[in-house]
Amino acid sequence: MNGPIDAPPSLEAEALCWPARRAPILRGVSLAVRDGEMLGLVGPNGSGKSTLLRLLAGLLPPARGEVRLLGRPLRRTPRREVARLVALVEQQAETLERITLRDAVELGRTPWLSALRPWGAEDDGIVAGAMAAVDVQHLAARDWASLSGGERQRAHIARALAQRPRILLLDEPTNHLDIHHQLALLELVAALPVTKVIALHDLNQAMRCDRLAVLQAGRLIRLGPPAEVLTPELLRDVFGVRAAFVTDPEDGARLLRFLSIS
């Protein structure tokens, strides 16, 4: 899926730094997420992917720089309005409450509800659709504590979908998933008619993104189409591995093959 190339940015980061004191974790990250694209975030452990996503979602206030949502400073947009536009699936979010999977997904409707706009049939439909999209509807009545890691992850994604966001931020959503569900999930996310920013570790999966942003030690060092960004030199410098591209004779797809750590 290719996003329109010259659409205006829906989410923009300008010279983001965090935190103010202590050693900086993000050092001046600027990037513009295009409307409708799927932007992948890659980088080694601790390079700042999760931190960047939290800043983009407005959960952390930038020490310096600014995040703009549809051209408006995030800092001055009410939380509720942000939540109607942006949904975040965090790397880990757990609870000890005895809720069912459906309860968890229904939380996604929170930004759309109020004391004056109570739960309605429309919300039931959206929740059912979100559960069906990630194939968890048969688990709807199950206790959260009884779900497997992958089932919880899918429930979190269903919760984000129930928010009906225009921008979906996903932090390693394929963690915990078996290979079938990894591929199914990426397919599903790629097909969603929303803007996506997705942190990934599997570089072959990252090749499916429209563009890739590479973070290293809190700096954005590369941004562009996967084929241009993921070069053997970059993999050596950033991840410390020797890698080569091989071509699948079956369909001509280019795959990364990792040879050794360098």
Partner: protein, 345 residues
């Protein structure tokens, strides 16, 4: 009228009827049982000037003593149960309860300062002293939690619980210090009685404070039920669901603390309420706050009326401190809940 509105009206009516019945039962039962018709006739006389011929003493007992007692009891437990729910949801700690934040310990210290140490030279009532103590303790605990680098999320919640424990210890020690230093045996006994909870002083002016506070904290909480639900996966998750986390935390914790301080200053430190009732309600109606809050408020109100009746009839000729009854019933009930929770997992 929509079906939803009709359902809610139906539920609200049911709750109101149950509460009225509980209050009537609490008024009728006691050392000298007063038949329900007499209770009803008294109310009719007082409210509409119906003019039934009644025994003056019976009428006085019903109107000035039993009825106020039942209403104050209902308000206190409803308020404390709601406060418990708020703290458990926001601190994400199943053991959080209004007393954990040092509020009751502070109230005790305030009460002791007034009655024993003579602070205020008789111009300050015990209730006022207790209220001031409760607020002071809460402010201290909040400051301590902040100084400990509280912040948001699970760590912030942990800090405030730890700060509350430290605050409770400090104020309990202060109370003990004042009592051992300057209380006569008579005063010590009186204080002991107050600390264990005492509804016998409940009059109409107490109703005038307890009722608005209980209604207020319940309404504020009901207004925020969705926000409380959103804290299921933590403060960050709530924020990403559009909840203004800081504002909700400050508003609701203040409401819970204020309600607790008021209730404690009226009836003394009745233990366990904010802990047991929400958990019992969760077993019955689940964890979603839309149902949990009204259910817990209602159950709290009814339980305390029942406990109050028990405290008056268990030992003939003597009124047990209400806190003794609630703890005697509450501790086994809580154990049962814990056991049930284990097997249900």
């Amino acid at each position: 009228m929509t079906r939803l509105a009709a359902r809610w009206l139906g539920r609200a009516a049911l709750v109101a009827v149950l509460l009225v019945l509980a209050v009537l039962a609490g008024t009728s039962i006691g050392e000298t049982a007063i038949p329900l018709p007499v209770v009803a006739q008294t109310l009719a006389n007082k409210l509409y000037g119906a003019g039934y011929p009644l025994d003056r003493i019976d009428e006085g007992i019903v109107w000035n003593y039993r009825l106020t007692r039942a209403i104050v009891a209902a308000c206190c437990w409803a308020g404390l149960a709601v406060a418990g729910i708020i703290l458990q949801a926001l601190l994400r700690n199943a053991l959080a309860d209004p007393y954990l934040l040092g509020i009751s310990a502070g109230a005790s210290t305030g009460a002791v300062l007034v009655t024993v140490a003579g602070v205020g030279a008789g111009a300050v009532s015990l209730s006022l002293g207790a209220f001031a103590g409760a607020v002071t303790a809460f402010l201290l605990v909040a400051l301590l939690a902040r100084a400990a680098g509280g912040g948001q999320g699970a760590r912030g919640a942990g800090q405030i619980v730890l700060a509350g424990i430290a605050g409770s210890q400090l104020f309990n020690a202060l109370t003990a210090f004042i009592i051992t230093r300057s209380a006569s045996a008579e005063q010590a006994r009186g204080i002991m009685f107050w600390l264990l909870g005492n509804l016998s002083g409940a009059r109409w002016d107490n109703v005038a404070t307890a009722l608005p506070v209980a209604l207020g904290v319940t309404l504020v909480c009901l207004w925020h039920v969705r926000a409380l639900d959103a804290f299921t996966f933590g403060a960050d998750s709530a924020a990403s669901l559009g909840v203004p986390v800081r504002r909700v935390q400050v508003l609701l914790i203040l409401a819970a603390s204020l309600a607790t301080a008021v209730m404690v200053s009226i009836v003394g430190a009745i233990g366990f309420v904010g802990l047991v009732v929400p958990h019992a309600a969760r077993l019955m109606v689940g964890v979603r706050h839309t149902r949990l809050v009204p259910a817990a408020a209602l159950m709290g109100a009814m339980f305390l009326i029942a406990a109050d009746v028990l405290s008056r009839i268990l030992v003939p000729g003597q009124v047990l401190p209400i806190g003794v009854v609630t703890a005697l019933v509450g501790a086994p009930a809580f154990a049962l809940i814990l056991a049930h929770g284990r097997t249900a997992r």
